[in-house]
């Protein structure tokens, strides 16, 4: 085994030397090499494989792969060497050396070029080195990553030659890592191994860690110490990344909470109306998204990617209208009676759930993710899905827009006027009941928009809203009533706290711990994080 590796390493070196030979010579040679490959002894075949791989000929990969796959044949009648691909009623043949079509044939007219186990290894190494030098950077990167994982010593030579030729710095880095991984597992000199450890340590991800852990056994002494130090350093580093990942998950959860709670911060926070049907506004927003998607699919399939964007205004309008209807129909009769409002709106939430269940059925509805929201990207050691990232961005946009609407528009001014001093606002000519209805509509509309976003991460079912209502209230109460910034901070800190507790306590217990902490927190600061102090008059 050991000796064999050495032979292969030597062969690899030959590849390295052959690499860079003039292109014309290579093409001339390929025919002979293919013939040697098909008809020579196993030793000849092995040499031919190495030579083909080193030839730089564009056909090289196809030929060697065909050999490995058992689709390289010698045609009996003219001893032409062909590659066969199955087609209806037989095999389509192509000349191995040139790739030109060579008619059709059947299994009976052909002799398969045979390989043994030793050849298979040579084939694998050759394919590896060929992909390492593939013109497609993606293939090269994957090949290097594969070598890093397999730590296949046979690939070392190919790797080194590829490294010498590589221009792309990030692929170079991957190749260097792979080379270091191979070296660490080989009998290379101590200096080389130390260098390899340093390179892998620099890489610093989970794979590097498992690689180092795996090689700890075989390496004692100075290298062993160095490896142990590298493992410690990577572990520390990874812990930081883990924390960062948790923060990201927390921010992601927090932005969902923010979306769900921010409408409530308006209705409950500024109007003092406790709307237990708020979750159902979110749910209606989600179902509106579903309906918009179905309509787009049926009427304008070319807009499918934009259906989520189309759903935003639709959901806002629908839920805002429902909100205004609720305010005009029920809540305005119950102002000053918060507990009765709570009961009435809870009843409303039951009716809305049942209504949706009757119309759309009790099962989950599917809202598909548009292309720009699927997939993920890497940021250092973090994996971030586009869907989550967009929801975070969206939550921030909604927050900023709402803040601006309340602070900078005349409607916002009216809302603040009415909530601060209703009678005085009335005296200034503001129609307070109208402002009430619009404010409630705004809060509900925002909830509907949140529903659009939630279709991407949650099941669209009649119970969608229930899962968010308690959390939303806790966020608003925690952040401090009547304060949008408090809601933002409340949502983010609850989200992050939840995600940091989860690894220790599990998802459910973590949630329970958060609930208990909030209950304790409300003891300390009954008016929330950003409470507004003031002379509360004898209430």
């Amino acid at each position: 085994m050991y000796g064999f590796r050495r032979v292969l390493a030597g062969l690899g070196l030959t590849i390295g030397l052959l690499f860079g030979a003039p292109a014309g010579a290579q093409t001339a040679d390929i025919g002979q090499l293919v013939t040697a490959l098909a008809t020579g002894s196993f030793d000849d075949k092995e040499k031919a494989i190495v030579a083909i791989a080193a030839s730089g000929n564009p056909r090289a990969a196809a030929i060697i792969e065909a050999l490995g796959a058992g689709t390289l044949y010698v045609r009996k009648i003219d001893a032409r060497i062909v590659i066969a691909t199955p087609k209806a009623g037989g095999l389509a043949l192509a000349d191995a050396a040139t790739g030109a079509a060579a008619g059709e044939g059947s299994e009976a007219e052909l002799d398969r070029v045979r390989v043994n186990n030793r050849l298979r290894r040579a084939i694998e190494a050759a394919v590896g080195s060929l992909t390492l030098m593939s013109p497609d950077p993606k293939v090269r990167r994957e090949a290097a990553a594969a070598v890093f994982k397999s730590r296949d010593a046979t690939a070392l030579a190919a790797l080194e030659s590829a490294l010498a030729a590589e221009k792309d710095p990030s692929i170079r880095a991957t190749m260097r890592d792979a080379r270091a991984a191979v070296l660490l597992g080989s009998d290379a000199s101590e200096a080389q191994k130390l260098e390899a450890v340093a390179i892998i340590r620099e890489r610093g991800d989970r794979e590097a860690l498992s690689l180092l852990r795996g090689s700890q056994e075989a390496n004692k002494g100075a290298i062993g110490n160095e490896i142990a130090a590298a493992i410690r350093s990577i572990e520390q580093n990874l812990q930081l990344w883990q924390a960062a990942q948790n923060v990201w998950y927390g921010v992601s959860l927090g932005s969902v909470l923010l979306l769900a709670a921010i409408g409530l911060a308006i209705t409950f926070g500024t109007m003092g109306v406790i709307n237990m049907a708020h979750g159902e506004m979110v749910m209606i927003g989600a179902y509106t998204t579903f309906v918009v998607q179905e309509v787009v699919r049926a009427r304008a399939p070319e807009l499918a990617g934009a259906s989520l964007l189309l759903a935003l205004p639709a959901a806002f309008v629908v839920t805002a209208a429902v909100g205004v209807a609720i305010e005009r129909g029920i809540i305005r009769f119950l102002y000053g009676r918060p507990l009765d409002t709570l009961l009435a709106t809870f009843g409303l939430s039951l009716m809305l759930q049942q209504a949706v269940r009757s119309i759309f059925g009790p099962t989950n509805r599917e809202v598909s993710a548009p292309g720009w929201m699927s997939g993920a990207f890497e940021l250092g050691q973090l994996t971030i899905t586009y869907g989550r990232a967009w929801i975070v961005v969206f939550a921030i946009l909604v927050f900023v827009a709402l803040n601006a609407a309340l602070k900078r528009t005349s409607f916002g001014l009216k809302i603040r006027a009415v909530t601060q001093n209703r009678r005085m606002a009335g005296a200034m000519g503001i129609r307070a009941p109208w402002v009430d209805a619009m404010t409630f509509g705004l809060g509900s509309g925002i909830a509907g928009i949140a529903g659009v976003a939630l279709t991407q991460i949650d099941n669209v079912s009649p119970n969608l809203g229930q899962g968010y209502i308690i959390d939303s209230f806790l966020v608003v109460v925690f952040g401090g009533v009547g304060n949008l910034a408090g809601t933002l901070v409340g949502a983010l800190s609850l989200g992050i706290l939840n995600k940091f507790l989860e690894p220790f306590a599990g998802a459910v217990l973590g949630k329970i711990v958060v609930l208990v902490l909030i209950i304790l927190f409300i003891q300390k600061r009954p008016r929330g994080l950003f409470a507004q102090k003031g002379r509360a008059v004898e209430s």
Binding site: Q532, K533, G534, R535, V537, E538
Partner: protein, 248 residues
């Protein structure tokens, strides 16, 4: 804590809400048996001052000493009420779903812990005291009706009656005649003078005629501190007072 022979000793208290200074180094001393009227424009800190004295708001700095030995800053509303400071709110606050008599009964001085009230029975001394109080506040014939059905003025009197039932040493009365008819105002002034025979009273009021009728020392508050103090005539002549409050 300072030793003092004043019934109420308020020295240099400041309170601020989010940067707004509601009280700014306010000082006030009330003697045993004194009645004091406090006037001042809206936002002068009258109600906040009462909040501080009754333990509802904690001052950022300054001293509040009651009866020469109780540091009120360390106590809450219940403790302070038990020490003998009664407070009437600006808006009459009585138990609207209880009868007039029950309102007074709950206010009567006595044990106030959970198990005391759970097994309490009405003593004859209590019945007598209730009768006296009902007479004093002039609600004898309304004793059995729900307090919620009383007129605005009657509610004010009932609330004052409840304060008396507590048998406090000091009464804080916030705008007792707001919204009252002239006749009711006169009755209220009489009632307060009657009460003042045995207790100290602080009255916060806007109604100058009513203050004149009481005929007591007046303290003028402005922007959280004392602007002037003296008889009504004296403070009325003070140009600063005229400028910020009375004049124009």
């Amino acid at each position: 804590m300072r030793e003092t022979d004043k019934l109420l000793y308020v020295d240099g208290i400041s309170v601020s809400f989010d940067g707004f200074r509601a009280l700014n180094s306010l000082s006030l001393m009330i003697d045993d048996g004194e009645m004091r009227a406090i006037i001042g424009p809206n936002g002068a800190g009258k109600t906040t001052m009462m909040d501080v004295i009754t333990g509802k708001t904690r001052p950022d700095s300054g001293e509040v000493v009651f009866d020469g030995r109780h540091d009120l800053r360390a106590l809450d509303e219940t403790d302070i009420a038990r020490l003998g400071i009664g407070r009437k709110f600006q808006r009459p606050t009585v138990f609207e779903n209880h009868t007039v008599e029950d309102n007074l009964l709950l206010a009567l001085k006595g044990k106030r812990r959970v198990f005391d009230t759970l097994f309490a029975r009405r003593a004859t001394s209590e019945t007598t005291r209730l009768k006296d109080l009902l007479e004093l506040i002039g609600l004898g014939t309304q004793r059995g009706i729900l307090a919620g059905r009383l007129s605005h003025g009657q509610k004010q009197w009932l609330e004052i009656g409840m304060l008396l039932a507590q048998d406090p040493k000091l009464l804080l009365v916030d705008e007792p005649v707001a919204g009252m008819t002239d006749a009711e105002t006169e009755t209220t002034a009489k009632l307060l003078r009657e009460i003042n025979k045995t207790r100290s009273v602080i009255v916060v009021e806007h109604d100058m005629n009513f203050v004149r009728e009481l005929g007591v020392t007046v303290t003028v508050l402005h922007e959280g501190s004392v602007l002037a103090e003296g008889s009504l005539d004296q403070v009325s002549a003070n140009p600063r007072v005229v400028e910020v409050y009375l004049g124009r």
